[in-house]
């Protein structure tokens, strides 16, 4: 399948990169990615990236608190933002003629935010933490799962931070974070949809182009010692919900082993007819839900096995099936039909993503963030070239008992 879209790249003098993806649409999606997330944070101030993301909606010298979103909505668009371990993304989808206002407002808040309503917004984030992490069994599971999956790497901490961190963060911490990371040379823009390229670039030069480049003082000293033995945690909640997670540290998204690992995870638990679904859900009835996936990260992400297991099932039985299947792969390999099925699914998924301006902007941002934008055009060819032996080899390399982390919530 040939990929039918083009990406036009522009770089401003201040280092800001812009990627334009023209599409026949009446709307444009605007993605502004700052290369900072919870991975850059330090002890006692966890959650500062996410809190800053909230503060970005609290006004500038020109705009009142929340006026940014109101203007976008008034123009017929939608907007939001989210923070991950690796980056913070602000995005808008608006009618094509409204894109110029979006560009002006995003450039404005790249250097002019006022940190208004800091204390009340901190309360909002504390409520968000309670709602998503503390009062949801799934939130509690994921928070603890990260904690046992890494020993020292900042990926082990929640993006939203702990309540103690949030109470500890001062306005001056946010100002420092903003001045350090929200710079033209630590960000990039992706725009996809119906756009007048020349006019858009001219407008970006007029707005973002005026922002002075800052010296990069980025904290990127990440370290995770090699795991020498398995780690286990049991979270006793005395309820009916039983969740099992098994994780293994793998490689960054841009590593050559990542693609075969993704294929491997799809074969094991990424589809309705995957091996784990067949055995655990359909045949043995041990689990209600099972899935496996690879986290797409800048540093070593995780291969994750996640299963909501039946109330009468034992964790040990599911773990036994897990290792039995892994050993089977290591000894017998995978079938060509399994590989073909997953390849077909990857290519369909890729095609489905081309439907929307957001889908395309998302893919382009993702590949650019990981420094492999050129691979977006060869992605399907690379998948096609993968052999069954490549998949087996990454399984042998990364899925080992001494590298496993288990979390059991029951």
């Amino acid at each position: 399948m040939k990929v039918k879209f083009e990406i036009k790249k522009h770089v401003l003098n201040n280092g800001l990169k812009i990627f334009l993806v023209p599409m026949k649409r009446e709307i444009v999606s605007f993605y502004l990615v700052y290369k900072v997330g919870s991975r850059n944070e330090i002890e006692g101030k966890r959650g500062v990236s996410h809190l800053l993301e909230h503060m970005m909606f609290k006004g500038t010298f020109k705009l009142k608190p929340e006026e940014f979103s109101r203007i976008i909505q008034k123009m017929g668009g939608d907007s939001n933002a989210f923070t991950t371990e690796d980056f913070t993304l602000y995005y808008e989808t608006v009618p094509s003629d409204a894109i110029y206002k979006v560009i002006e407002m995003e450039a404005d808040r790249m250097e002019n935010i006022r940190f208004n309503e800091f204390e009340s917004e901190k309360k909002v984030v504390i409520e968000e933490r309670r709602e998503r992490m503390e009062n949801s069994p799934y939130g509690r599971f994921w928070e603890n799962f990260s904690l046992i999956s890494y020993s020292v790497h900042p990926y082990r901490y929640p993006i939203i931070g702990f309540e103690r961190d949030l109470l500890n963060i001062k306005k001056s911490d946010l100002v420092r974070w903003y001045n350090t990371y929200y710079t033209t040379n630590n960000a990039f823009i992706v725009m996809s949809g119906g756009l007048d390229e020349r006019k858009v670039i001219k407008h970006i030069e007029k707005t973002f182009g005026k922002i002075k480049k800052k010296r990069k003082k980025v904290f990127e000293n990440f370290f995770e010692p090699e795991q020498k033995g398995e780690r286990k945690m049991v979270l006793k909640e005395k309820g009916m919900l039983k969740i099992l997670g098994i994780s293994f540290q793998i490689v960054p998204f841009n590593h050559p082993d990542f693609l075969p690992l993704s294929i491997f995870s799809s074969i094991m638990g990424g589809t309705e007819s995957s091996r784990f679904n067949k055995i655990l859900v359909l045949e043995k009835n041990l689990s209600n839900v099972v899935t496996t996936f690879c986290e797409e990260k800048l540093d070593n992400g995780l291969f994750i096995f996640y299963s909501i297991i039946n109330r009468d099932s034992n964790f040990d039985d599911v773990i036994e099936v897990f290792w039995k299947e892994i050993e089977k792969i290591k000894e017998e390999g995978i079938k060509q039909s399994e590989l073909n099925k997953v390849k077909n699914m990857f290519s369909s998924e890729f095609l489905y993503r081309l439907q929307s301006t957001k889908g395309l902007a998302h893919m382009v941002s993702h590949f650019e963030l990981h420094g492999v934008l050129d691979k977006l055009f060869t992605y399907l060819d690379e998948i096609e070239k993968l052999k069954a032996s490549d998949v087996v080899s990454v399984c042998k390399k990364y899925i080992k008992k001494e590298r496993a982390n288990y979390l059991m919530l029951c």
Partner: protein, 433 residues
């Protein structure tokens, strides 16, 4: 492009809406069936949900695994979506596989095997799901809210039913429900894709014409004009209060529906632009999420829901503010400026909500479900654009009924729920495990 909607009607009454879109070589389609959990017999609540979830768990010729494998092999997305008032089978696939996928889907639909072993497994799965959802306050409160709002009607029980009712369901119940309450109900098909309408139609006609005796047959039951004044209180191990209050909404074809769309956006549906969000979250910092929402539930009256979660210390002032805002909105209606800003938002929704193939299919399916013209989004928009401030005063007075709210609240175990009496002196405050 969107103007060229093709329409067709099969002799058995199945309506078809289709839009050809050659941008990508893919086809999206959905089969809607006029059924729902409101058809569950008393004491067998969950029968519709259980039956629907067994459709793809094996047919006369195929095992559950073979069915899943087929869709994965062709890279198709296949979902059976159920709600209180609809069963919808959604598919997204590459153009080259459309015919194969439709044939396959039809075979599953006409001959699900409902094997005893699959039924036992599925029942166990649903029971686990019910018990597990009890531990998630967000899922729990939604279910309890509907129980209160639709009290005494077949719309009150959760889709999944109850542990006891599921245990009483036998294979015969499932087989006869499927035959009578799913396969013989009114159906419609919506689609968008790169193939010609002729090809799409031929395939549907070839297969779905075989279905006979389809009828629209809604059970008759009364839904009160106003909900009963009850607030259900559930005590759980939480450190926030979860609240859902509401009353009935309007039918989709009600002439005031555009007013409801616009006014709800201003009150609580318009996220960052809404009054509730600005007052309760932005100005006071009491909550992370707060909103009002509504949706049609044809042929019945749908709900209007107010929802927030907040820390114990903020519950009283947040609730006070919520009621104050609803009251103010009811009495004075929206401001002119708010109406104009909301109109700006709605102008932009159509290109955003008709961008992907499944989005267009959904729009056409809604048109069929609510018996609206295929391009109803445009006509609703044009009605919204014509609305003036003076038209809202009567509407908001009549519709936003803060005195007759009902709902459910989850509070921490040691919380004194009688605080609710201060806000709802005439309501029954019912504490339940």
């Amino acid at each position: 492009m969107l103007k060229k909607i093709e329409k067709a009607l099969l002799p058995n009454g199945i309506k078809i809406y289709y839009l050809k879109n050659k941008e990508l070589p893919i086809v999206s389609f959905a089969i809607g069936i006029e059924t729902g959990s409101y058809l569950d017999p008393k004491d067998k609540e969950g029968l519709f949900y259980l039956t629907s979830s067994l459709i793809d768990k094996g047919s006369d010729n195929l095992s559950s695994f073979e069915i899943r494998e087929f869709f994965d092999n062709v890279g198709a997305k296949f979902n059976i979506v159920v709600s209180k008032n609809l069963l919808c089978i959604e598919v997204l696939c590459k153009e080259e596989f459309f015919e194969k996928v439709f044939d396959f889907l039809f075979d599953i639909l006409i001959s699900p095997s409902f094997k005893e072993e699959e039924i036992i497994k599925e029942k166990e799965r649903v029971i686990s799901e019910i018990l597990q959802e009890e531990e998630d306050p967000e899922s729990l409160i939604s279910k309890r809210f509907y129980e209160v709002l639709y009290k005494g009607t077949p719309l009150s029980h959760p889709l999944e039913g109850y542990v006891k009712s599921l245990e009483s369901i036998k294979r015969d119940d499932i087989v006869s429900f499927y035959k009578e309450k799913i396969l013989r109900r009114e159906m419609y098909v919506a689609g968008t894709g790169s193939i010609d309408f002729g090809k799409f139609f031929k395939k549907i006609e070839d297969k779905l014409s075989k279905l006979k005796g389809l009828k629209e047959d809604f059970p008759k039951f009364e839904i009160r004009d106003k909900p009963e004044k009850i607030i259900l209180v559930l005590k759980r191990k939480v450190n926030q209060v979860f609240l859902k209050l509401g009353h009935f909404s309007l039918h989709r074809k009600d002439k005031d529906y555009p007013k409801l769309i616009l006014s709800n956006y201003i009150l609580g549906g318009g996220a960052f632009a809404s009054r509730l969000f600005n007052r309760i979250r932005n100005e006071m910092g009491y909550v992370y999420s707060v909103y009002s929402k509504f949706f049609p539930l044809e042929p019945f009256k749908g709900p209007l829901i107010y929802s927030f979660q907040t820390g114990i210390e903020n519950f009283k002032p947040a609730l006070e503010l919520l009621i104050k805002e609803i009251k103010r909105f009811k009495l004075k209606g929206p401001f002119k400026k708010e109406i104009e800003e909301a109109k700006g938002f709605f102008k932009g929704t159509i290109p955003r909500e008709t961008e992907t193939y499944p989005q267009i299919t959904n729009m056409l399916l809604s048109a069929l479900k609510y018996k609206l013209e295929p391009l109803f989004m445009w006509s609703t928009l044009s009605e919204i654009m014509k609305l003036k401030k003076k038209e809202f005063s009567e509407f908001t007075q009549k519709f936003y009924d803060y005195e007759n709210l009902c709902g459910a609240v989850i509070v921490p175990e040691n919380y004194n729920a009688l605080i609710l009496k201060e806000f709802f002196p005439e309501h029954k405050i019912v504490e339940k495990l």
